[in-house]
């Protein structure tokens, strides 16, 4: 087989390309081999409430610990005062990939620190 004649630039591009392609294939193969079959496991974590001009906003971090992507994840946060739900806020995460997190906010009229906040994952779709 004759050796292809190429200049240093072409060999460099080939070298970089080969490394990238091999690394990509390696990563995908590793990912495929280690990927479990756990369904989406979704957790909503609440952050510190922040005062807005009108009302209070609470940051929510939604985390998927599972091995599958969840679509349309509905999150509801309720503000409990004296054992009663006084107000609730909700939002939807369009896509939550496996082992990933997304951020959202819920807004309340009253100061959430006066009561107790409860976050709940209402449901999601398998894409």
């Amino acid at each position: 087989m004759k050796t292809p004649h190429k200049n240093w630039l072409e060999w460099t591009v080939f070298g970089v390309g080969a490394v990238l392609v091999v690394a990509t294939l390696g990563f995908l193969a590793f990912d495929a081999a280690t990927l479990g079959s756990a369904p989406p496991g979704i957790e909503a974590r609440l952050g510190r409430p922040q005062r807005l001009k009108k009302g209070y906003a609470v940051p929510v971090t939604v985390v998927n610990h599972g091995d599958a992507t969840a679509e349309g994840v509905a999150i509801e946060v309720t503000l409990q005062r004296r054992g009663r739900a006084t107000q609730s806020g909700e939002f939807e995460v369009a896509f939550l990939p496996r082992q990933s997190k997304r951020e959202g906010w819920v807004v309340f009229d009253a100061d959430p620190q006066a009561g107790r906040l409860e976050a709940r994952v209402k449901g999601f779709e398998a894409p």
Binding site: P4, W8, V13, A18, L20, V21, T24, A32, R98
Partner: protein, 334 residues
């Protein structure tokens, strides 16, 4: 453009000498530093002092090829880099499917570079090297664009980042390949090559099928990941679907045999009714297969009834037919 300007600067060679190798090649080595090493060495005699710059020339030429590749890669794949369904596919699809996509793209690149690529007489080793280069460029380009678009960030899970890059990089890579081969100006190198290899360059039946598949995938991939295909596949009545299939066949026939499309003459020299029919049928079959492959890849067949699988394939078969017929003729080196 550059090439034409360079020519315009040359004093018009007198008609008698213009064809002489010495005159033409000297002009080239003075003004057009994009010869490959071999022809530079051959033409070195009249302009000996320029022979030392042969390797510079070849680097220049490679740079231009890469620049064309980058432009081509973006021309063909930018619509997909700006398509949300593609980003979603990045985290919805399983790593196995992405591996399959990389393998399939590599086969397409090999085929395209072999039968329609820039280097006419390339050996399989060179074809493989070119294909790896194009894939590397595709990965780099799609990383850059996705980052600029804010689709990949440092905090994301590695699998999400890699999957998004890989899925976009595959169309970019095909675009790079096509761009490198197609976007070159009417360079003298191409003209030379056309003269020499007119006969040997006629890709046989297998080659035609490969290039038709490339064209079909390049065209169909732009709409395949969108929700519209699945919506059409579900909503359209069987009668309309039949209409789409017939229209696709008609489209293929018009492009291949009736429109005097660039390159059509060369591809279908035998004009018996039987060869026309078989040409159209093969083109449509390649289009349908390519459409089905892309749809399967995007998970559009998962959990679908067979009638909806066929419906989606027929819907996507229309753009795929355009790619397999018109695209095929455009993708050939003229």
């Amino acid at each position: 453009m550059l090439l034409q300007m360079a020519f315009a600067e040359c004093p018009p060679p007198n008609a008698a000498n213009c064809r002489a190798v010495g005159c033409v090649s000297r002009q080239r080595s003075l003004h057009l530093p994009h010869l490959d090493m071999n022809s530079a060495a051959l033409s070195a005699t009249p302009a000996g002092s320029h022979s030392t710059s042969a390797s510079d020339n070849s680097v220049h030429k490679s740079l231009r090829e890469y620049a064309r590749g980058v432009a081509g890669g973006l021309i063909f794949s930018l619509p997909l880099l700006f398509t949300m369904e593609m980003w979603w596919a990045g985290f919805i699809l399983s790593p196995e499917r992405l591996l399959g996509c990389v393998a399939g793209t590599f086969v397409l690149l090999l085929g395209y570079n072999r039968f329609a690529g820039l280097h006419e007489d390339a050996s399989w080793a060179e074809v493989a090297i070119d294909s790896v280069e194009e894939m590397g460029l595709g990965l780099l380009l799609s990383t850059a664009i996705l980052w600029l678009l804010g689709r990949i960030e440092f905090g994301m899970a590695a699998s999400e980042i890699v999957s998004k890059i890989v899925i976009e990089a595959m169309t970019v890579a095909i675009g790079v390949s096509v761009g490198t081969a197609q976007l070159g100006g009417a360079s003298d190198e191409a003209n030379e090559a056309a003269d020499e290899s007119q006969s040997e360059k006629e890709a046989g039946f297998g080659g035609q099928v490969v290039i038709a598949g490339c064209g079909a995938i390049l065209f169909a991939a732009n709409v395949a990941p969108t929700e519209e295909i699945i919506m059409l596949g579900i909503e359209l009545s069987p009668g309309r679907l039949l209409g789409i299939a017939l229209f696709s066949l008609l489209l293929g026939a018009v492009v291949l045999y009736c429109s005097d499309f660039r390159g059509a003459q060369r591809l279908s020299p035998a004009r018996g009714p039987l060869s026309i029919v078989s040409g159209i049928v093969v083109t449509y079959a390649v289009a349908l297969l390519s459409a089905a492959a892309i749809l399967w890849f995007f998970g559009r067949f998962d959990g679908m009834h067979i009638s909806k699988i066929v419906a989606q394939t027929v819907v996507l078969g229309l753009p795929a037919t355009l790619g397999a017929s018109a695209g095929r003729l455009l993708l050939q080196r003229q």
